[in-house]
Every structure is written in C-alpha cells, then in structure tokens.
Symmetry: C2
Subunit: 195 residues, 2 copies
C-alpha cells in the first residue's frame, strides 16, 4: 500500500461507520470532513464526487466483510462446520465491526427504490453473499453432512432471513434474547437439511 | 369523520407513500406540499411540526397495516388457517399497499440509531406485530394444529425473518422467485411446529 492508499482506506473506514449509522443519505463530503478533520477540498481531491465517495465506501465495506466474515469462515473445515462459521462470523460483523450495525442491511432499505450505480453495486454484493452461503452449503452436501436433496439456494435465503431478523431484533428492538433466537432458528434450519 | 379528519387522512396517505419510498428523511413539509399541491403553511396548520407529521404518518401506516393484514387475518378460522392468513395478507401489504414496500422495514433500518419519539413508536408497533403473530400461533397450539411445546415467540421471530427476507429479495434483488422462496420457508416452519 502506498501512503495515498493508506490515507484513502483510513478515510473510508470513517465513511463506512457514518453510512452504517446515518445511511448513505447522511454520508456527504461535509459530514466526512467533520469526522476526519480534513478539509472538504482535500476530500474532493480523493473522491472527485459524492457518487465516487459512496461507491468506494460500499467497496470498502465489502472488503471489511470479506475480512471479518468470508475469509475466516473458509478456513473452517468443509461441511456443516463451515456453514456454522458463516453465521458465527456474521454475528460478529453485525455486532462489532461497524458502529451502526450491518451497513448492507441499512443500505438495502435505503436504496431499494433508488436506481443507480450504488444500488447496482449493492445488489452484486448481496448476490455474492447469497452465493457464498449456497456454495458453502453445497460443500456440506458434498461432505455428506446435509442431505443430497438440499436446495442450497433456499438454504441461503433462509439463513439470510435469520440474519435479517437478528439485526432487527438486536438493533431496533434491543431484544436481549436476539442472539439466542437467531441461534435457535439456525439450529432448526440445520436440523431440517441434515443428512 | 369530519371534513378535517378526511383531509388529514388523505394527506397522510400521501405521506406514507413518500416515507415508504424515500424514508422519513425524505418526508418533509416541503416534499409533502409538492406531492399534495397544498401550501406549506396549510400543512403546518395541520401538523404543527416535522415531528408531529412523522408520528402521525407512522400512526396512519399502522392503521393501514391493521386494515390490510391484522383484521382480515383475524376473520380466518382459528389455528393454522389463521397463521397462514397472516403471511398471505402480509405479502399483499408488502407488494401492493404502498409504493415503496413495507414502510416499517424501511423505517427500522433508518431509525435504529436515532433515539426519539418516532423510534419509540416504531418499536411499539413492531412489538405489537410480533405479539399478533405469537398470539395467533398460540391459537394454533390451542386448536391442536401446532405441538403443545411450540415456542410461539420463537415462531414469531422466525416468521418475521421470512418476511424480512422476502422484502429484501423482492424489492432489492428483484428476485422473481422471492414469493416462492418465502412460501417454501414458511411451509418448512409450519412443518417444524405442527402437532
């Protein structure tokens, strides 16, 4: 990494925290300048436009998600263990990675009616995540942990539902049993596909 | 209803469509004036403040939700049929009631980090909805459709996850199989609690 790359990554780490808390509507060159103690003109020099700032912020969130959730899960043993690692690491992501919870869930609600490059990038990210879940579930089928007739795309949809419910219950409802509920839902899901 | 009440309800029906599409951040006396062809001063006379407008908009969405989802479901036979009616009517709500999908799901992501009266009202609404699901599931236990050991709060959490995943897949991902996936997830859930 060059010095310029490092500076950019540090700025974007501030940006993803703003976007996770206040949405992309709350992320502007102005709010970023306040949070980073940089000048607006300095930030413009880095990002050129609000749209570029948004796209690079989402891209940075994706890198962080890969670091926190995807890569560590893929180092778990193939099969059900790896499927379990996905949920465990996702819960860490939702709880600890960003100050406002999962940026992608917030962005999904914010952007679903806003056509454009940012929405398109978000959709690609979400599809990649669903594909990761389905592919890891497919290794569990291949290892004989899950039944041969498991619909791995349905499984990905169902795991996604568990994570969305967890985010809602933990962040909006502040339900102290949110994690317990998510784990119970996940165990039922695993039981339903196990060989 | 007085003429004033009718006018207010008509204005609020415009407001809930704006909030469902653009979030509460996009709902202002100004945007509402544009969409209703009323003057800002006329709207101020109705609502007094942006906060009152927001609270009454959420309250109006709650009334509509009761009309579209809760009341028609309670007219179905007690037991599993009534549980099924809840999901069917919720899908109609998400697809057809408002131009931007379920206002509550958008608001949850927008408001989870914004303490205040609007967030408090949303949390009460969401808790009421979870209670409706749990109570209807309890009638299915009482009727002998669901097992006596069914954890109806967990069931409510799980149904909630199905609806959140549906909203995400239909509105953000524009997945043509979103409804089929939701129904499949719901059938698995029912199968897991059936007596």
């Amino acid at each position: 990494m060059t010095k310029g790359d490092e500076t950019r990554a540090a700025i974007l780490d501030v940006a993803i925290n703003i976007a996770s808390t206040k949405g992309f509507a709350g992320l502007t060159i102005g709010t970023l300048a306040e949070s980073t103690d940089m000048s607006k003109s300095g930030l413009f020099a880095h990002f050129k436009s609000k749209e570029q700032l948004e796209l690079q912020t989402l891209e940075r969130a994706r890198e962080r998600f890969v670091d926190v959730v995807v890569r560590p899960s893929l180092s778990a043993s193939r099969g059900e263990k790896r499927v379990r690692a996905l949920l465990e690491n996702w819960l860490r992501w939702a709880d600890d990675a960003l100050s406002g919870g999962c940026l992608f869930i917030g962005a999904a609600a914010e952007l679903d009616d806003q056509p454009g490059a940012l929405r398109d990038l978000l959709v690609r990210n979400e599809q990649d995540w669903l594909d990761v879940i389905a592919n890891v579930a497919a290794t569990a089928v291949a290892e004989g942990d899950f039944g041969a007739d498991t619909d791995v795309e349905q499984f990905a949809y169902d795991v996604h539902g568990v994570t969305l419910a967890y985010h809602h219950h933990s962040r909006l409802m502040r339900d102290p049993r949110a994690a317990e509920r998510a784990e119970s839902a996940f165990e039922s899901l695993l039981a339903s596909v196990r060989a």
